[in-house]
């Protein structure tokens, strides 16, 4: 989701667009960057980089300004001041986030020792253990202020946890997969022993769903998430998720039946195809589940 350089955001840094320059100055004043030892030039460069990443080709100064105003400027400055090695920034960071980070780690692994290990490993990365061209690189330099710093820390911690889980299971981490270009295996074109018309009708029905509807289906039926959990992920009440799920599940079945009818099946045959599928695919599903990493395995839930 990054793109080529664009003149709008860069203008904020270079001062080519006076309004954006004024905005950059205003944000700098508001951010407390000076107190944390972050120079204005570095701040402007940071804004330009973020703008370039998220607003490729955006030339409307009003939109650019709106985007910059939506950033968590104070937290952005804090993170980058920490990345730059400001002691004062680290003091503030630790005051604000140390406990939360340990708490979030505990929420993920539900084990004191592992939680401490997880949080400590992230701390090491936040502080910057890797050196690039003789310089320490802190993970905090990747924070862009799109969401809260706390939320970003939780997301990074979750990634770390998933990767750590994969490492212990001798699986390939997400980064390694990305580097090797095998992160997304090609989808199975057609399950063995299944009617091609059924597969086509199902794919057609799923393709007609919105992203949110597919997300809800996947989270509920594949990941085994509770309605309340899905609701929290989407920021809606669980009753809303329940209604949508009911509607989508019913709609998908209906769409498959219609698709099969269009492909020349009788109504009795469509019902038989769906029922047959349930029996025949049972073993196949089990096989797939045993191969795929169960997503819920990452999270130890209290039940």
């Amino acid at each position: 989701m990054s793109g080529a350089a664009n003149p709008g955001p860069q203008a904020a840094a270079t001062g080519a667009e006076p309004r954006l320059q004024a905005l950059a100055h205003e944000l700098y004043q508001r951010s407390g960057a000076r107190e944390l030892g972050l120079p204005q030039e570095q701040f402007a460069r940071l804004l330009a980089e973020i703008g370039t990443k998220y607003l490729p080709g955006e030339s409307d100064p009003a939109r650019t300004a709106e985007f910059y105003r939506s950033l968590r400027i104070e937290e952005l400055v804090l993170a980058h001041a920490c990345a730059a090695g400001s002691e004062r920034a680290w003091e503030v960071f630790l005051t604000r986030y140390r406990v939360k980070l340990y708490d979030a780690a505990y929420g993920m692994v539900r084990d004191e020792v592992r939680a401490r290990e997880l949080a400590d490993s992230l701390y090491a990365e936040l502080y910057g253990t890797e050196t690039r061209a003789g310089k320490r690189t802190s993970k905090l330099a990747h924070y862009t202020g799109r969401g809260s710093l706390e939320g970003w820390l939780r997301a990074v911690l979750a990634q770390e946890h998933v990767n750590s889980y994969r490492r212990t299971r001798r699986e390939i981490s997400l980064e390694e997969k990305t580097e090797e270009g095998v992160q997304f295996a090609a989808s199975d074109p057609q399950p063995a022993g299944c009617d091609a018309r059924l597969v086509a009708a199902t794919d057609e029905a799923l393709a007609a769903l919105s992203a949110e509807e597919r997300f809800i289906l996947a989270a509920y039926y594949l990941d085994g998430r509770r309605l309340a959990e899905i609701g929290r992920m989407l920021g809606v009440h669980e009753s809303t998720v329940s209604r949508k799920l009911e509607r989508v599940a019913g709609g998908v079945r209906k769409a498959i039946v219609e698709g099969l009818l269009r492909r020349g099946m009788s109504r009795a045959q469509t019902e038989e195809a769906l029922e047959t599928d349930v029996r025949d695919l049972d073993l196949d599903i089990r096989r797939q589940l045993s191969q795929e990493t169960s997503s819920s395995a990452f999270l130890v839930k209290d039940e």
Binding site: E35, K100, R146, G151, W152, F184, A211, R214, L222, S295
Partner: protein
Amino acid sequence: MAELPKIVRQRLQAERAAGAAHPDANLLSAFVERSLSEGERTLVLEHLARCAECREIVMLALPQEAEVELGMAGVRAAAGPLQRPPISRWWRASLLRWGALAAGVVIVASAVLVPKLGEREMAPSYSAREQPTSKVAELPLGKEVSEKEEAKAGEPERERAPQAAARKSRPAENKAAVARDARKDLPRSEDVRLAAAPPAPEKRSMADAVIAEATPEPAARPQSRQEQVTVANEDRAAPTPPAAQMLGRAGSLGKESAPEHGATKKVPGAMPASTTHAVRNFSGGVRWSISANGEVQRSLDSGRTWEVVPIAQGAQFRAVLALGREVWAGGAGGALYHSSDGGEHWSRIAVHMDGIRLSGDIVRIEFSDLARGIVATSSSETWATEDAGRTWQRR
């Protein structure tokens, strides 16, 4: 829930986000906090619908449901982090079983003992134990609550109280009258102590006061009880916003002036992901926290819903401390505000000594009692007061 044909599950599982990179932590956290643009959100959702790993990360990255635990994190931090004893499933299941058994025993015991209590209530010795003021703390004060509702609110509490039987000895007295009488006496702290309120510690450590739950001072206890009862009312009756209830109570307490910057802004639902700083303090059902936007927040219902408390336009807060009704909030530019009425009215406190003013952002506020406390700044300054903020000394 409707059963989904297995072919659908199979095809869903076979779908992969071919060719697309995983969204980074910035986008995933912004997705959780709903701060992405509509287009970006759709793109992320498209990916999530096909990527189990990212769905898992989003799930793990959600703020914890029980914000109480976040508040308790401060306590753990004071004594070393992560000292929460893990609760096993077996223990939970046992708890459930024994809990059900205990409930059954209580019900049977009640059925046997209640008639006997009814006989004993007429005895003079039991009547002498009646504390007319004991019901005071069990009833709401808000004038917006009708007499009938007040009586209803008080009813369950009365049934539980040991004075219940004694109260039955006054059959002519209707519940509304009880409520009226009770309200007259409400502000008396001695009365409230009778309502089984836990005794507040004499003095707390600084660390406890800052990042842990703030146990209310005895004088602050009446408000906590009022709030708990009023919240209970809301659960039964129409869902009146707690903020409105709070303002109503302020009015009934004789404080006429409105907050300086308008009414509080209600944040519906559970504590939103975008405003999930640790709960700093809570007193009874009232909790205080700082949002990720630097706003002071208050929850009147044990963290289920949060409302932004407007203090000063444009102020960015970093620390909040509540000691009962006394609330302190500090933040950017040395801004320090104090409320002595639970956050209804605020006054700015100037921290200075011999012409030197506090500089930097206030990142920590600690009070060992209502008068003595310190504020610490991001520029490593520490200022102390021993007279509730009237004068300050730089350390």
